[in-house]
Amino acid sequence: MKSGEQQKGDPQVTAIRRAIDVRLKARMRDEAIARAAAAHPDEDVINAYVEGWLEESKADSLTSHLVSCASCLHLTAQLIRFDPEMDEAAAPSADVDRRSVTAILRSSCGRRAAIVRRGRSFCLPG
């Protein structure tokens, strides 16, 4: 509970706030176990939800999923928490020679990584 954020007020409300805090955390831990292998919306849907591009009925349906799915709830919270300044700080780079696409793909996929292009494969150079 964030004591600094919420001002002290009605003791009844303070007590129920604490109760809700304890109960919801316990419930979502249980949900995390129960839903570990369940189907989840993909990143495209999750991002469209957070950016506000889902149609209302789809968004409502996803909200219902979020309140009972700890992992998707956490993913959306992380996206909401994202600092927009990071986007600005990471402006497109004109210089990508230090760790080129080829080098990244080669280190990621192995030297035999192939790109399928126009129906045929070719190996990355080098």
Binding site: R23, D44, N47, G52, S57, A59, L66, I80
Partner: protein
């Protein structure tokens, strides 16, 4: 829409493939909105296509096809962000490097099905921004890298800590009084959990989501206010349906909003304990203390004798 073909002629995406991708996005997000299998109207389709992030979709399609020019462009636009965001999420450089490599492998795709490489880009529809989609991909990759050890540790922790209203186990050496206390406590505990769950279950999903973001995810009031302020935010739409004012949403607005939900839960929790469980006011106070109990502490209970 066709200007992307002119802007990036060397991306080499056939028009038919691009058209199929747009149709796929519409099928995913528009079909069956009003009723199962309902087709969108031409106007809905036009608006939908107008909202798609066409340059992002085009770039994603070209990368999916393995076009090297597209990969260079993707790298120019997004690599700096991918590295910054991943290092922001993970403390260790080694972990961050592992996740960055895993993301590139997933985006490129190493599995081949029916002769087609399964690039992660095939799941991107252009409905949201490519940058936002990448954020979600990176978050998932970060979780996947550490999933196995984390699950093992946390499950052990949960079962050992007994975080949720821990039961006191009655050992053979306990006195009659302490056994009585345990029995009484268990009775109140059961009523408390049932009443609180019932009170929470009567909330609208959006109210529950608000509580979860604040209490479980630890989002700050200003972060919640920020998403409510987003013109197309699903939470904002819900908020506006319930509010006569169209004023700016500040942290204090979210606080008042939370306060309303607390009061609603409190009233229903109280009514449930008094009505369904037939508890007296002093017993309800005990239940409130149990509900709000810090798992690390214990409270002293004395049985309340019933008047009837």
């Amino acid at each position: 829409m066709l200007s992307v073909f002119e802007s990036y002629p060397n991306f080499d995406v056939p028009f038919e493939e691009f058209r199929d991708a747009v149709a796929g996005a519409a099928a995913k997000y528009l079909i069956g909105l009003a009723e199962p299998n309902a087709q969108p109207s031409p106007a809905e389709l036009e608006r939908f296509i107008g909202e798609l992030k066409i340059p992002d979709l085009y770039l994603g399609l070209a990368c999916m096809r393995g076009n090297e020019h597209a990969w260079w462009e993707f790298d120019r636009q997004h690599r700096s962000f991918i590295e910054r965001w991943t290092r922001h999420l993970l403390r260790s450089d080694a972990d961050a490097d592992e996740v960055i490599d895993a993301v590139y492998v997933e985006l490129f795709g190493t599995r081949v099905v029916d002769g087609v490489r399964q690039s992660k880009f095939r799941t991107y529809t252009g409905r949201g921004s490519l940058r936002g989609w990448l954020r979600a991909i990176i978050l998932h990759a970060a979780v996947d890298v550490h999933r196995a050890p984390k699950v093992e540790v946390s499950m052990d922790d949960w079962s050992e800590s007994g975080d949720e209203f821990p039961l006191r186990h009655v050992s053979g050496g306990e006195t009659e009084d302490s056994m009585l206390t345990s029995v009484v406590r268990e009775r109140y505990r059961s009523a408390t959990v049932a009443a609180l769950d019932q009170a929470l279950s009567t909330l609208d999903d959006h109210e529950t989501l608000l509580l979860l973001y604040y209490h479980v995810e630890g989002l700050k009031l200003r972060e919640i206010a920020r998403i409510v302020e987003e013109p197309k935010s699903p939470i904002r739409r819900w908020f506006q349906r319930r509010s006569s004012k169209r004023s700016r949403v500040h942290e204090s607005t979210v606080m008042r909003w939370l306060d309303k939900v607390y009061r609603k839960v409190h009233e229903r929790f109280h009514a449930e304990l008094a009505g369904k469980h037939g508890l007296k006011p002093e017993e309800i106070e005990i239940c409130k203390a149990i509900a709000a109990e810090d798992p690390a502490q214990t409270i002293t209970l004395s049985p309340v004798t019933r008047a009837d």
